[in-house]
Every structure is written in structure tokens, then in C-alpha cells.
């Protein structure tokens, strides 16, 4: 068994342009996903919009550079995540395929040493 982080990447501008009913439907789908995969779920949350992000980079001399915005400038940003437990990658991918992400997709990464 291993733990995997499933990061949900979404295009925020697509959400902003969408009808409010789309967000409502998405919320219901996440509830359904959580119910169907409860035994594998170890955590998860929705994140506030990416304009609330603050990035901190080490300046290499013991100091920090704090900037407004996400770490990488991309169209799709992380909008939420799940931590799941699975026997192997195939099982993790099967679960990750069920994660609702209508405005983007998900990335699956193993969590080391848990």
C-alpha cells in the first residue's frame, strides 16, 4: 500500500465564465466521489482561488523572497487535492480518474515514506 496525492488542476477563468449551476453540480460530484471512495480517502480539500497564493523562494543566503502569486505561472492552477491510499499505481489511477475535474485534469504523485 502507498499513499498518493491527487492534485486537481483547473482553469479558473473557465470556472469564472461558467454558470453557477456548474459549480453546484461539481460540488455534488465531489460528494459522490468521496462517498464512493471513502475507504481509500485519507484527506482532501478545496483551495481558495490562486489570487490568494503567496510564494516564498529561498534566496540562497538564508533569506527569503516573498512574492504575490502562484509558484509557476500556468493557465491551470491547483484548485484542490485528495490524499488517497492505494495498493499500487494502477489502483491509484483508477480512483484518480473518478475525481471530478471538468475544467482541467488531475496529477497523481506518490507520497514518500508514509
Amino acid at each position: 500500500m502507498g499513499k498518493y496525492l491527487v492534485m486537481i488542476y483547473d482553469d479558473e477563468s473557465a470556472w469564472a465564465a461558467a454558470d453557477p449551476s456548474a459549480a453546484e453540480l461539481n460540488h455534488k460530484r465531489h460528494q459522490a466521489f468521496a462517498e464512493a471512495n471513502g475507504s481509500a480517502l485519507r484527506g482532501g480539500a478545496r483551495l481558495a482561488e490562486s489570487n490568494t497564493a503567496t510564494s516564498i523562494r529561498s534566496d540562497g543566503n538564508g533569506g527569503f523572497l516573498v512574492t504575490d502569486g502562484t509558484f509557476a505561472e500556468t493557465k491551470e492552477v491547483i484548485g484542490g487535492y485528495y490524499v488517497i491510499e492505494a495498493a499500487d499505481l494502477d489502483e491509484a489511477l483508477t480512483i484518480a480518474k473518478q475525481v471530478p475535474s471538468p475544467m482541467g485534469g488531475v496529477e497523481v504523485r506518490p507520497i514518500i515514506g508514509m
Binding site: 502507498g2 499500487d88 499505481l89 494502477d90 489511477l93 506518490p110 514518500i112
Partner: protein, 409 residues
Amino acid sequence: MNTISTGAVARAVQEAHESEWAFVLAATARVAADLDLAEDCVQDAYAKALVHWQEQGIPRRPGAWLTTVATRRALELRRRAAVSERKLPLLMPDPMDDAEVAAGVFPDDRLRLVFTCCHPALAQEAQIALTLRLVCGLSSAEIAKAFLVKETAMQARITRAKHKISQTGIAYRIPRLTDLPERIDVVLDVVHLVYTAGHTAADGDGLTRPDLARRGLDLARMVRLLLPDSGEATALLALLLLTQSRQSARVDGAGQLVLMEDQDRTVWDRSLIAEGLELVHEALARPAGRFGLMAAIAAVHAEAERWEDTDWAEILGLYDLLLARWPSPVVALNRVVALSYVEGPEAGLVALQPLADNPALSTYPYLASTRAELLRRTGRDAEARAAYEEALAFTSNAVEAAYLARKIQ
């Protein structure tokens, strides 16, 4: 027992390397629970074979001898690692235990190995490199040479792929039934690419590429044996056999390219054709997939005694089906050629027009050379020459370039 010559032993080890490598490594990987450890143990077993077979004679079942030696060493190293509390990354949850290894009866794990090397979470070039390394037993240097990459780059590619397998928990097992068709397609794509990389010959080095084609054929035979219920696996082997049957007719005595139209069909390999045709009929008893349709097209060519006898209407029908299932610009281009033999070169030129605007084909030499052929057949020689020149500018294959240069003169 010192009557065996060193040469005979070396030959036996070499033979066992070619025919048994995948079986030995697949079984050892299950015991070792780690691909690197398994590879080391198998290489060690082959090295030991050179010495032991000289002293004790060549075993009756070389594969079983090698597997026993490699798995014993893997078990021993794993135990030692456990004692020193060094953690080895676990490849899968069900390694064989000591009793099974001691009994010397090993299950055929080659499918596990193939599906692990061709896992869709790996990039396609990594799938190909891993398959050649772990299933075929080629060295990084050999694979690098075949794909015209630096050895260090190929080594890094293989290391990265193995790292991803162990870190992400890609399981050493046969996929579940629901995933199987999709996963088989990935495997067949890899085998097909290995063969075609070898088939489109001549980058100046005449040796490494035919070897790649042979490896592709070997892989196709193995996959068909391991997946007897897959119509597509059967079809892929048929396609490769039928393609290979024309190999010696593709180049003439002077090393010049000969198109199928002008090939001496008496030198086509009849035994490969017979085997290929039988497999095509077997594969087409089920609904045809991509390789089934491609094999069927190859079969129509193989069955024509002369170029003039080719059943182009049948081929065009098959390309229509293939294009619906696999809408690639290259398939569309081949369909145009078939169409030009059914409805004439003018109709071919009309059908070619929309393809000329496809960016995926903009530097594809066969697009320009197809247009050149069609123009030549309609008697527009000046335009044909210009199109041949365009094709020549895009080709990097010396034999093909020489062919085009002859056409321009």
C-alpha cells in the same frame, strides 16, 4: 567433462541469452522485487554459466539452470539487505518464497515484465528502451546505437524509467481484465515501433537496424504466444511477417531502393508469407482492430502474383475502415495511393489536396513523393520533377534519397 570446446559453451550461453533472457529476468524480478537487483543477478548467472557449463557440461534446460542461479542469488541478496536493514524498494507485494525457488519450478512471468515495461504512465520512448533492455536483454549501448542517441542519454532514460516504476508503485502484474485491451494496445504499439525503426533502414550503419527489426519480430512472436486470445496480437505478428517477407526485394543488387511496383516477387519469402497469411485469417475471425486492418492490407499485396493483379478496390475498402478507426494523416495518404489505382491518378491528386494543408505532413517526404508519382502518371513531368525535388529535400534516408535523385534526372 572437459571435452566441450570453449566455443560451444560460448555459443550455448549466447543462444540462451537470445531465447531465455526474458523468462529468466521475469522470474528473477518476482523474487528480487526490484528490477535493478534482478538485472544484476541475471547478468551474474550468465557469467557463471560460461564457467560452470565448461566444467559440468551444458545443462539440458539452460533456462531453468539460469533462473535457479539468478533467483537464488536474488534471495540471498534480499536476505542480506534485510539483515543490514537496508530497505530495497518493493516492486510488487507477492515475491516467491524460498520453498518455491528451491523447487526450481518457475511460472512464466514474461507477461508481467512486458506490461510493466509498457506501462502507460511511462513515456513511449522509455517504454521502448525498457522493453529492449529488460525483455530483449540488449545493453544500453546497443539500444543507444539503434536509436542514434548517446549512450549516457539512453542510460539516463532507462534509469529514470526504473525509478518511476519503483517510486510510483507500478505493480509487477498483469492488468485487470477491464484495463487489458487498452494495456495490450500500448504493448503492441511498442513492438510495432521497434520493428518499424529497424525496417526503415540505412542511416549509413547497415548492421544495427536489421537487428532491431529481428528483435521486433521476436517480440511480436512472444507477445502473440503469451496473449493467444488477442486478435490484435495475432494481427501484429502477421503484419510484421508479411512486411518482412518483402525485405530482400526492397533493395536491388546495387543497393538501390525498389518500390513494390517494380519488386521481383519471386524473391519474396514464401514461408513468411504463408505463416503471415494463416495468422491474418485467424486474426480476422474476430472484429479487426488497427493491426488487423493493416495486416489485411499487407495480405492483399502478398496474394497478388504480379503488381497488375493487386486488388486495389479491396485495399481501398480496408483503408476506408482503417481511416475511420485510426484517422492519422499517414493512413490518409496511403488511402490516396489506393484510390489513385481504383479511380485514376487525377482523382488521387484531388484527394491529395486537403492533405497538403495538414501541418503534420508538411515535411513528410512521402507526401511530396506521392504527389510526384501521381503527376508523373498523368504526364505532367515538369511538375512531377519539382515535387520529387521537394521530397528529396525532406528525406534523410540515403537509399531513399538516391531513388528520388534518379527520378529527377
